[in-house]
Each structure stands twice: as C-alpha cells, then as structure tokens.
C-alpha cells in the first residue's frame, strides 16, 4: 500500500460507479493502482472494465464517487485537463493527419512549438522512424497500434490507459506487441492500466490483474496468485480452464479437508477453500487440467499413495503438439479436462479406455457451491 504522501502517482478510485438509466455498468468500486505498475482490468465484454477506464480518462462522468490522481481529485476535470492519455480500441488515429502530426497532436495542443525532436524520438522508440509522412490508412494494423501508443506516450502522462489495444491484431502480432508494450512500460516507467478480455494477455503483461464481472471486481491479485487460488467459479473458469466437481465435506483432518465426490474421497488444503467447511456442506472442488495425471486402469497400483484419485473413461482425445488434451467422464463429474505433456505417450490411452485421474491434493482448491458452476466459461456465441 502507498498511503504515505509520495509524489502522488497512484490512481485511486473511491466509491466510483456508473449507471445508465436502470442499468448499472459499474458497481461502487474502491481501487488503487500504484504508481509505475502494469495493471490489467480483465473481463468479458460488458463487464464494466471499459467504462471504468473511461471514467479515469474523463470521457465518462461517474454517477457516484471520486477519481484521484495522487492526492488530486480530478473527477470534475474534462479529459483535456487530465495528465492521463489513452490508447483507444481500434486506435482512433486522425485520418486527415499524417503519422508525425498524429503523434505531435497532444504537444501542439499544449502550445509546444518545436515538436520535431520529440516526435522523432518517440517514433524511434516505437520503431516507426521511416513512416512519419504516411497517412494512418497506409499503415498495417500493428503499425497503427504503435502510432497510437506513441501519440499517447509523447505527452508523458502520469497514467497510460489502454483500451483493448491489441484486439484488432492477429494472434502472432498480438504476442509480439504484448512483449513490445511490456518493454516500453519498463523503459518509461509510467503506470499502465490495460483493459482486455484476453486472460492470457492480462497474465503475460500485468503485475496485477483485476478480474471484473457484471460491473464488479471479482478478484484482484498477481497473475499466478489468481490462477492458483481463484476464489470464485468465474475466476476459476475465466482464467484458464478448471475442472469443478461438486462435492460434500466429510471432515477436517488437521490442515486438510476431506470431501467425497461421486464415491471418491478427495483431500484439499483447508487454506485453499474459500467456502464454509462445515461437514455435510456442499462445496465445489477445483483442479487445473495440467495438474492431473492419467494412468491406465491396469496401472492403478503404481500410483503413489496420498494422491487424490478419481476413476473415469476417456471420451475424446486431441493431440495438439506439446500436449494431448483428454476429455473424461467420471462418476465425480462429466467432461473433465486433462492435459498430458507428450513425454512418454501411453498408447492405451485412447477414447473408450478406462483410466484413473490422480493429482497432488495440494493442487486442489475449494469454492462456494452456491455459485453457478459454469460462470465465466467461454461460450461459442460470445467468443469474440
């Protein structure tokens, strides 16, 4: 926490909310983004992440609450008076101006006369030195994206806001630009607040990720922490894939919790269960697909003792190079996913084979069973 009065670079939102008529886009929200961090707001479309970003930029007036930049209340400042710049979704480059004039726009508006050196330096930083005289429509998507970044960064904002800046690029370019943006952020040391619906992008780039859903922040933390210890089914499903199994609490044994699911007895660390652990209560037991190992039923005896195990049958398998992904039906749950690294492939593991799934109990987490089990699962129709 940075409660002490430093030079005041933190972005602080207190009680900020936005409603349109009867629809609440963002519920009252408290959020502090420390200076110099790379912060990601992650969520599906319509979760309120872009609205939050636009309230920081000043493009949207909050219904309630206050936006602080450092110690300064900027809630009533129009966007052109805030030391904050935005990289817009699909870039919003000015079509009637060439690249260098686009980049110089902010400087000129603040009455700075000699902009050439700064513009050249900035274009050099984003590796577009040779394109200064081109019009935006003559550039590729990736180049346009870099112009948009340069146009914002040249103003040395206290905070750079990025609204799905890579959404329009193809996969390969996106990966490349992720590293590029990360490099620029490290180089200039400005706070970046990055809005995205791509969980991989958020995890690759950000120090801190806030997962938003339905206008609220569901969970906030470092990427690895969010991935390993999701506290809601939405986070468990939206960040990567989780196998969630309905289970009943049997007892507490020391640090561990013992539960049953479909006849199988499973253990998990009590500290990793965010649900009430009263015995007889229902919880959801979660485990990531890559933590699970598969053994053919005939080899069951060779599984080390103390591991969680669930019997099942392979329904489907797909080979994707580095790993093979299996879909398994078991008494504990239908359609469980298992990712096996392709090190030594067991040729008996084909659809129809009877298998045993086993994993280290420490890799298990527990969630409140009162939530929808499939919250945050990407559905075909809204995969964008």
């Amino acid at each position: 926490m940075t409660d002490d009065k430093n030079d005041g670079g933190d972005v602080r939102l207190t009680g900020i909310s936005k409603t349109y008529g009867s629809f609440t886009a963002v519920h009252p929200l408290e959020l502090t983004v420390p200076q110099g961090s790379f912060f990601a707001l992650l969520g599906a479309s319509g979760c309120g992440k872009t609205t939050t970003l636009r309230m920081i930029a000043g493009l949207e007036e909050p219904t309630t609450g206050t936006v602080f930049l450092g110690d300064k209340d900027v809630t009533d400042l129009p966007p052109y008076k805030r030391p904050v710049n935005t990289v817009f979704q699909s870039y919003a480059l000015f079509p009637h101006l060439d690249v260098s004039e686009n980049v110089a726009f902010g400087l000129r508006r603040r009455g700075i006369k000699s902009v050439k050196k700064q513009v050249d330096d900035m274009l050099e930083l984003v590796q577009l030195g040779d394109f200064a005289k081109r019009k935006p429509h003559q550039l590729s998507g990736g180049q346009q994206q870099r112009v948009a970044v340069a146009r914002a960064l040249i103003n040395h904002p206290q905070v750079l806001l990025l609204d799905e800046p890579l959404g329009a690029l193809d996969l390969k370019l996106r990966r490349q630009m992720q590293l590029e943006l990360k490099r620029i952020q490290t180089e200039v040391g400005i706070t970046f607040i990055h809005v995205t619906h791509d969980q991989e992008e958020a995890m690759t780039m950000a120090d801190t990720v806030a997962v938003m859903n339905g206008g609220r922040v569901e969970q906030l933390g470092a990427p690895a922490d969010l991935y390993e210890n999701p506290r809601t089914t939405f986070v468990a499903n939206f960040l990567g894939t989780s196998n969630l199994i309905e289970a009943e609490v049997v007892e507490k044994s020391g640090e561990d919790l013992v539960v049953t699911a479909g006849g199988a007895k499973l253990k998990l660390p009590g500290g990793r269960c965010s649900a009430p652990d009263t015995s007889g209560g229902k919880i959801l037991v979660g485990v990531r697909p890559e933590k699970i190992s598969l053994a053919h039923k005939d080899d069951e005896g060779s599984i080390a003792a103390g591991r969680n195990r669930v019997p099942g049958r392979i329904v489907d398998s797909s080979f994707i190079g580095v790993s093979t992904q299996y879909v398994i039906d078991s008494p504990a749950g239908q359609g469980l996913s298992v990712y096996e690294q392709n090190i030594e492939r067991d040729t008996r593991l084909v659809p129809g084979a009877e298998v045993v799934l086993h994993w280290n109990p420490a890799h298990t987490f527990g969630l409140d069973a009162a939530q929808a089990i499939d919250a945050g699962v990407e559905k075909v129709e809204d995969a964008a």
Partner: protein, 306 residues
C-alpha cells in the same frame, strides 16, 4: 499492493449530475435551424390553410368563413389538371427509372477508371440553368427538325399520334414533349441515389450468386435489384414529387392542353389573384402527394430516408 473493497451501496453516495450547460448543447445546435423551418415552412402551411377557407375579394379583403366549398369547386374545375399532373409525373418517373438504372449500373460496376468522368457528366448539366436546358428541347424537338424528321420516317409519330401522345407531325406542344422534358429534368435525381446504393453492393455478391447457379438475369432479379431498393425508393420520390408540382415544362414545351396543376396554382396566385382557390389547390396537391408517398414508403419498406 493494490487494495480492493466493495464500497457502501450507491444510495449513500452523492450522485453527480451532468451540468445544465452540457445538457443544453443539442438544443442550441437544433433551435436556430428548426426555428427557421417552423417559421418559414410550417407556419406558412397554417396561413395557407386559413387562406383556403376564406372568402372575399381582393378589393374588400378576405375573411375566414370556413368556406370548405372552395376545395370542392377547385377540384371539380381543375381535376383534369390533377389527373394530368399525376399521369405525366408518374410516366416521367417510370422513364427515369428505366433510363437511369442502366447508367447508374454502368457507373457503379462497368465504368472502371471512367467512373468519375461519367459522374461529372451526369452532374455538370446542373450548372447550366435548367430553364436554358429546357428551352434547348424546343430546338431539339422543333417542327421539321432532325428528331421529328427521323421519328416521322420511322413511322413512330404515326403510332404515338394514334395513342394520343403526339399530334400529327408535331412533337412540341404535345404530351410527349412535356413528359420528355420532365424526364430529362429529373433524371439526375434518379441516377445519383441509384448509383449510391448500387455502389455499396459488394461485387463479390454477383460472383457468389453466379457460383450458386444463378444466371445473370436471375442474379439481377434476386440480388442486385433488391439490394438497390433504397436507391430506387429515394430516386423515384426525388423524381415524382418535384415533377408532380412542376409547371415549367408544361409551360415551355406544352400547349394549353398540357397544363398541369402547377400551372393553375401559379396563375391563380400570381395572375388571377384568387388566393383561396390557389391555396385550396395547393393543399389538395400536397395531400395527394403526401398520401401517395406515405403509402409508397410503407410498401417499399424503407423508412429511414432522412
């Protein structure tokens, strides 16, 4: 580390209101122009409505007497002109569509690098006063001129005279001359909207239709034409509406037998000075056009023309 807590419910927090000045911006933008239209377009309609139910004379002045009889009298006396107006305007609109569609299609799909040249040639005549250009038709269709001579030797005029479109060896001062003038005058208003809607059609749709076993004729009927409907609708409206109230072509190219309702309104208003009759005629024309346009737009199914 970042901190996160849910704030107390929204009800406890002061709600910010957009400033009054900001909310008034759209009205400041709208008011001057709309006021202009209200005062100089809508208000005159009210005055005209009141004039149409007045009686009196120019010397003694006119009074509102709710004399609706004027409407019936005006319509009874001038219904041939009404019928003629609608007939001529309708024929001219149809001709504009038949003549304009191939040209719009040509510009949109076949012209290549000539596209802009042809567009300029379609628009450029506008810059010569339409009255001058209409007078040129007097020369073109003159008795004994090359056009009449050619039509005569091909025996076209025999057929058109028999149909009542022309009279004897003349084209000038016949219905054909007036319709020809109307068609000519409003043709660009048909071509431009047609071109705009055709140009938006992805040429790959033609290939797709061909790929899916459509002959060129079927492709046109099932793909191109339906997609150009917005252009057809606005083109026909932009042609029919002004043509129905026009009196220039009838005056310059026709004779007293081709007078349209516009001629009557003009002479009642500016020469006879019988304001109630003129106002009533003008209202009847407006009502007819508005009803036809509304029905047409409904049936064509495009309502967003503005």
């Amino acid at each position: 580390m970042s901190a996160l807590t849910e704030a107390p419910p929204a009800a406890d927090l002061p709600v910010r209101k957009a400033s009054v000045r900001k909310r008034l911006v759209p009205y400041w933008l709208l008011v001057p122009g709309l006021l202009w239209l209200v005062v100089f377009f809508a208000l005159p309609m009210v005055y005209q409505a009141s004039t149409s139910v007045q009686t009196g004379s120019l010397e003694k002045g006119f009074q509102v007497t709710w004399h609706f009889q004027t409407y019936w009298d005006a319509f009874k006396e001038y219904y041939p002109q009404f019928v003629r107006s609608l007939l001529y305007a309708g024929t001219a609109t149809l001709l504009c569509l038949l003549l304009g569609y191939p040209l719009a299609y040509l510009i949109a799909f076949k012209a290549g690098r000539w596209r802009n040249v042809i567009l300029v040639l379609v628009i450029a005549p506008f810059f010569t006063s339409f009255l001058i250009r209409t007078l040129a038709w007097k020369t073109i269709l003159a008795d004994g001129g090359p056009v009449v001579h050619a039509l005569n030797s091909l025996h076209v005029l025999d057929v058109t005279s028999w149909l009542g479109f022309t009279e004897g060896d003349r084209v000038l001062a016949t219905p054909m001359a007036v319709v020809c003038g109307l068609t000519y005058n409003f043709l660009p208003f048909m071509i431009l909207p047609l071109y705009t809607s055709l140009e938006r059609i992805d040429p790959r749709l033609h290939e797709a239709a061909g790929d899916l076993y459509a002959t060129p004729a079927t492709t046109f009927r099932k793909v191109t034409f339906p997609l150009s409907m917005p252009g057809v609708v606005s083109g026909t409206l932009l042609t029919f509406i002004p043509a129905s109230g026009d009196y220039v072509n009838a005056e310059l190219l026709g004779s007293t037998d081709q007078k349209m309702v516009g001629n009557v309104i003009q002479s009642q208003f500016l020469r006879v000075l019988d304001y109630p009759t003129a106002a009533a005629l003008s209202f009847i024309l407006m009502a007819i056009v508005l009803v036809m346009v509304t029905v047409y737009i409904r049936r064509a199914g495009t309502e967003d023309l503005v």
